[in-house]
Subunit: 267 residues, 3 copies
Amino acid sequence: VTPIVCFSSDFGLLDAWVGVVHAVMLDCSADVRVVDITHEIDPFDIRRGAVVAVTAVHQLPGLTHLVVVDPGVGGERRDLMIVTGDGTRLVGPDNGVLVPAARRAGGIVSAWSIDPILVGSPDPLATFHARDVLAPAAARLALGVDPSTLGEAIDPGSLAPGPFPPAHREGGYLVSEVLDIDRFGSMRIGVDRAELDDRVEPGATVEINSGHTTLHVPFGLTFSDVGDGEPVALFDSSGWLTVAVNGGSAAGRYGFEPGHQVRVLVA
Amino acid sequence: VTPIVCFSSDFGLLDAWVGVVHAVMLDCSADVRVVDITHEIDPFDIRRGAVVAVTAVHQLPGLTHLVVVDPGVGGERRDLMIVTGDGTRLVGPDNGVLVPAARRAGGIVSAWSIDPILVGSPDPLATFHARDVLAPAAARLALGVDPSTLGEAIDPGSLAPGPFPPAHREGGYLVSEVLDIDRFGSMRIGVDRAELDDRVEPGATVEINSGHTTLHVPFGLTFSDVGDGEPVALFDSSGWLTVAVNGGSAAGRYGFEPGHQVRVLVA
Amino acid sequence: VTPIVCFSSDFGLLDAWVGVVHAVMLDCSADVRVVDITHEIDPFDIRRGAVVAVTAVHQLPGLTHLVVVDPGVGGERRDLMIVTGDGTRLVGPDNGVLVPAARRAGGIVSAWSIDPILVGSPDPLATFHARDVLAPAAARLALGVDPSTLGEAIDPGSLAPGPFPPAHREGGYLVSEVLDIDRFGSMRIGVDRAELDDRVEPGATVEINSGHTTLHVPFGLTFSDVGDGEPVALFDSSGWLTVAVNGGSAAGRYGFEPGHQVRVLVA
């Protein structure tokens, strides 16, 4: 098995942070392969960090995922390792950024507080735990090291809560929110396939209601299942319910933005 | 030989797509090395994707190049492998994005339609063939697998045409277009060295005529062959005829944009 | 030891340059690991290139650092290798971009002019020495090749000067400049820890005077050592004196920009 670490952050690509974290992990072992998911999460945006992490673990279960959006770095919050029900390992700060990804990846099986000494950093720089604590832990987990040798077990119930809740039912509707707008303008809504699956039949339509706008969108498998410029609902690679416009931008046309509450009904 | 896959796309760096494709290829084999050419091709811009692919194969012949600009993903278009005259392998959708690169790399020797089953993806996600079909094929080709074991041979004559034609002669001129403006403002024109070579002598000047503007630019080998702020014509690393301004932006000064038709004459 | 090359440039991520340089180094040996520090240095900005290089060598001493901001490529300037006092190897053009990094990394022990023939490029493309001369040299140095086999020793005194001088004393003040504003709006000032260390005690405050603005900022170890929206002075991962605002942007609040002269006093 290739020891892969999937790495997301709000570091951006202007500064040296991303490269330094890569070098630290490669220095642990030349066998490690670091894959950049994205580093263009807005600064301090824990919510978007959590969305990216869900998207990554959905497609790459069983790997090690390092997720760094860490406004409280060096303060009270813990440096966390989580092992999930499907064998995914999550590494990041204890500020909720890992919680929705853990939920998607089969739930939390165990949680651990990383001990800097046990990852070889007795005196970590207070502004850069990603480099001195989180990355060395992630590299070791990818290489097969057991989390119990890198820190202390902690109560999963003591973790900071995630930045958005799971969808919940209200009347016939699933209530959730727009989680993300992708580069192509497709909107991802916080409802996953398991919550709708048996009702998504050929010819089904989803109603998406934001209070001021109501859309009725046919389900499809891909963008070109509808005419040019037409909307289509599908489950994209993120695993979330997605509304796209073939050859265009759904977000641009319908004016949705991340954080907008929506009510979803399959008819 | 290091099994290198050169990877270009219109995925951008905000989302997880690029990283997921990396992870899929590394999961095929830890030996694979994935090199990012660019992922900042504008969404759906097959033309710019083709220009980038030419630039990459020109400098890295004999490697495997994965090029994904794929508005029709999951629809009728085929997932393609092309083997070229100089041993380059091209992987991408059958929408023309690979065609100019194949021309630059010695022409099409064989073309293949990838069979998802043969690359281990019997049920590829319709919105993400890059992940489920194209990347697994590219990784295997880089590792030396024969394309005949990954799909069916197809008639090269049946491929979708490229997004721009080769330069052609009209009177004494070569007629082509501005293909690309690089970060430094240099303009690349769709005329390669072989089309001009014997006439590019020391002291030669190239005339570039766009209908509303006519430039006369001396040939040089590098930017500093002319004075600061002066224009120079050269063949840059893309292999295309390039007009640059030493220490400045040629596109900014002369107002050319990708797609502008130009007539080229060496005097 | 993993043979790591840390790579910075002003190439941006729109074009194929970065990927091509990666491929060239991997082609030297599959063992090489190329780590991207940043490629978003503004075109031709030698000053910012030097700041990035200092930041990288400060955190990754002993590795090989390739730094390419090279407006004079193919002209008179030399292709340089520098070995520093702490065993770091620097590769880049002889235009000053490597000089502050060499100072941070223990000073210049030896300097070398790369011979294109000795790195296997008898006829380098005049516009792309990064590909044909600098990258092959950097890969070989990372693999342990001795610089004396790749070029000629040169007099360190003959190198082009760096784009900014070390801090100097004037009265009780250290006079320097704002070197960089990071993604989070933190300002890095050209004073390193060694220049202030013994005066940075618990409870100390730094005065930063720019002529039109005077700040008094308490020292801390991390952002959350002060209240939300409050300023804090610390030494961040760059090793430079840094002024940050907890949860906000110091540069945005105080209006400092790279290049602004400042006078620094610890009280």
